[in-house]
Symmetry: C2
Subunit: 425 residues, 2 copies
Amino acid sequence: MKDDQTNPHRRGFLKAGAAAGLASGAGIARAALTRTPADDAQRQVEPFYGAHQAGIVTPQQSHTYMAAFDVKTESRDELVALLRAWTLASARMARGDTAGALDTPDDKPASDSADILGLGASALTITFGFGPTLFKTSDGKDRFGLAAKRPAALVDLPRFNGDQLIPEKTGGDIMIQACANDAQIAFHAVRQLARMGTSANVTSIRWGQAGFLSGPKGQTPRNLMGFKDGTNNPSTSQPPLMNQFVWADGADAPWMKGGTYTVVRRIRITLEHWDTMELGFQEQVFGRHKYSGAPIGKKKEFDAVDLDTADKDGNPAIAENSHVRLSNHMTNNGMQILRRSYSYNDGTNFYIERWPPWRQETEYDAGLIFVAHQSDPRTGFIPINTKLAKFDMMNQFTTHVGSAIFAVPPGAKEGSYIGAALFEA
Amino acid sequence: MKDDQTNPHRRGFLKAGAAAGLASGAGIARAALTRTPADDAQRQVEPFYGAHQAGIVTPQQSHTYMAAFDVKTESRDELVALLRAWTLASARMARGDTAGALDTPDDKPASDSADILGLGASALTITFGFGPTLFKTSDGKDRFGLAAKRPAALVDLPRFNGDQLIPEKTGGDIMIQACANDAQIAFHAVRQLARMGTSANVTSIRWGQAGFLSGPKGQTPRNLMGFKDGTNNPSTSQPPLMNQFVWADGADAPWMKGGTYTVVRRIRITLEHWDTMELGFQEQVFGRHKYSGAPIGKKKEFDAVDLDTADKDGNPAIAENSHVRLSNHMTNNGMQILRRSYSYNDGTNFYIERWPPWRQETEYDAGLIFVAHQSDPRTGFIPINTKLAKFDMMNQFTTHVGSAIFAVPPGAKEGSYIGAALFEA
C-alpha cells in the first residue's frame, strides 16, 4: 500500500513546486487547487468521524453513487491497510479536499482525478459496509479469520418471490456509498477509493450505481412513480426511535454496536406502463392519494394511516394488497425500517420479446435504488419484503434486479479507521 | 391526438372538484398542485418561445436528459398534431407547470406523472431536432413529403475511424433534449413527451440518456477526465460569433434559418485506465495543464493556445497528436463548433475478454455525452472529428458508442409549433 499522505518526497515536491513560482502544471500554487464553492449547498460539510457513520441519519442529499467491491487479496493486513487509507482519504474528501495531496510529480499518477476542483464538499458522506461473503465464502472458507465475528443479523438474504437478480448487480464483500448535493462529487468519492483499492491490488469493483433525489426543501420527496416516498419513515430526529429501529445493539457482535444493517435493492420500474394507468388505480396500488400524499380517504400527507376504514361499499378504503397496508408497521409487528432510497436513471435498453406478440421496444432502465437501514433485517426488511413480494399490487410494475446486504459498522474515531473494532479486537 | 388543454370536460372536472372541497385525491385544491420552488436555481425560468430554440446558447444547466424517437405513423397530419401538442406541453413545463392540467378524473390516466410537484422550472429548456431519416429513409422512401426540404447540411454522418456504434444508441427521426438544474425535472420533461407520442401511436422512444455537469459558478466545468472542457468555445455572448458558427443561414432550406445542426456522440471513457496514467502524460494528451487549464507552457486557462512554441528539446510544447492541437480552430480552417456536452454515468457493466489474458472485470459505463451545435457540420464536426478519430492520443481512452445528427429548427412563436416552417411552407 502506498499512502500519499505520509510520503515525504511528495510533500517535499509540493513545497518546491510552490516555491518555484508556477513553473509547471504540477507545481502551481496550492491555493489555486483548493475547492472554492459558490453556494450554500456546495459549502455544506458533514463530519466524517463520529459515533455513527455519516450517511445513515444524515438529511438525505440530492445525489448518490453506491458501489460494492470484491476483495481480491488473501491478506488480512493488506485489507486493513486499505481500510486505513480509505478512512483517511474519505475524511479528506468529506471536508471538501481531494482524496490525496495534489503534489504529484509529472511522472506519477495523480492521487486525485481532479474533476471536483473548485467544487465544495457538498455535504458529502461516505458510508462503508461489510457483506456476508467477507466473513465466510459460499464454500465455507474463513477468508480473513472473521467467521466467528459474523453477526447473526448479517444473514444471507432469502430469495424473494419474483426476484430477477442479475449477479453482476448483486452482493459484494464491501459497500461504499457516497451521498452529496452534486452528482460529480458523489461519483468522485467512490472513484478515488476504487482506484486506491485497484492499485493496491486489494479490491475490484463489483457493481456501481448512480442515484438522485429531487425534493422540495423540507417536504417528502416524490419517487419516479410520482408518489411521496418516505412519509412513514421513523423520524431521524428522535434518537429513541433510531436506537430501537436503526442502530445495532451489538449484543452478539460488539464491534457492530452503533452500526446498522443496510439492504440495497435495485428495483427497475416500468414507467412507460405505469404512466398509462388510471389515476384512481395508481392510488389504490399505493394506498395513498397521489397529489396530497394522504392515506386514501384522508386529506393530508401526515394524517394517520387507518387500515380499518371502509369505503361506501364496505370494502377497505386502503386496499388489501396496497403497498401502504402491506408495508405499514401495524401489519408488521410494529417493526420499522429507515428507508433512504434514491431514484436511478441509466438511460434505456433495447428489449426483444421472444414469444408472441414478439414485441421489440426501447425501455427506460430507471427506477429505485431502495436503501433501508435497520437494527436487524430478520425482523425488518426480510419479513416486510416477503409479504410485499407476494402480495403487493405494485409488483406488476417493479422488478428487483439487484440486491445486497451489509453490516455497516459504527463510525471511526479520528486516528482510527472504519471497521477497526472488527479487525483489532 | 388528445389535447388535454382544450378538453372542456376536464376543465369542468377541475372546477367541480375544487368546489366540492377536497372530496377526492383528484379533486384537491389546485393551489396545492402548483410547484413551489425553494431556491433560486429551482425558480429560474427560461423562455420556451423565441427566435431560436432554448437550450443551445442558454447557459448550461446542471442536468440533461436526451432522447431520440422513431416516428411510427405514416400520417403527416398525425405527426404535425403531435408536434403541436409537444410544443404546448413544453411551453407549460418550461414555465414550471405540469405537461397537462392535473384535473384528471380517477378513471383516466393523468396528463402528468406528477413526480415534479413542488419543484420549480429549474431553468428547464426543451430542444427539438429532426434527423435525416425523417426526410428520407435508407430505402429512399419520402415518408412525409419532406425530401425536397432536406437541408444539404443535414448529411448522414460518415463512419469515423474507431467508431464502435451501438445501433440502439444511434440515430433517430426526432431528438428531444431537456436540460435543467435538476435531474428529475429534465427526465420528467422527456418522459411526458414520450408518453404523449406513445399514447397517440405516433412515436416510440429509440434511445434515452441522462447527463450531468458540475462546475463552479462562472468557471469552465471539468469533465470526468479532470480537465476543463469548453475553454475555447466560441462565446455565446457574442452574437456575430453565433451567427457565424452556430446559427444556420437557411440558404438552401429557408425553414432552418435561425436553427442549428446538432451532433450527439455517446463517448465512453475508460476512467479506470485513465486514472492510472502519469499526470504529465495526461497533460500531453490534452495539450493543457490539468489543474490550471492553461495551454502547455502557459500559466492561465485563457492564455492563447500557441501551437508554434517548442520545448527545450525543440519539440512542440503542445504535442502533435494532442487533443487541443488537433481540435483547435487554427488547424481547422478557422472553424469552430459550440460544444455543450454533459458527463454521463450509467453505473457499471460486467465485461469479459474473449482472448488472452481472458480478463473479466466490472467497468464504469461512464463518459461524455458530446453535444455540438454548428451552422454546418460539413465544415464543423465532420472534418474536425475525422482528424481526431485518426490521430488524437485521447482515443486510447475513449470509444464512440452512440451517434446522431439533427436539424434543430428555429424557435416557435407562441400559437405556432416547433417545425411549423418545415411542414406548413
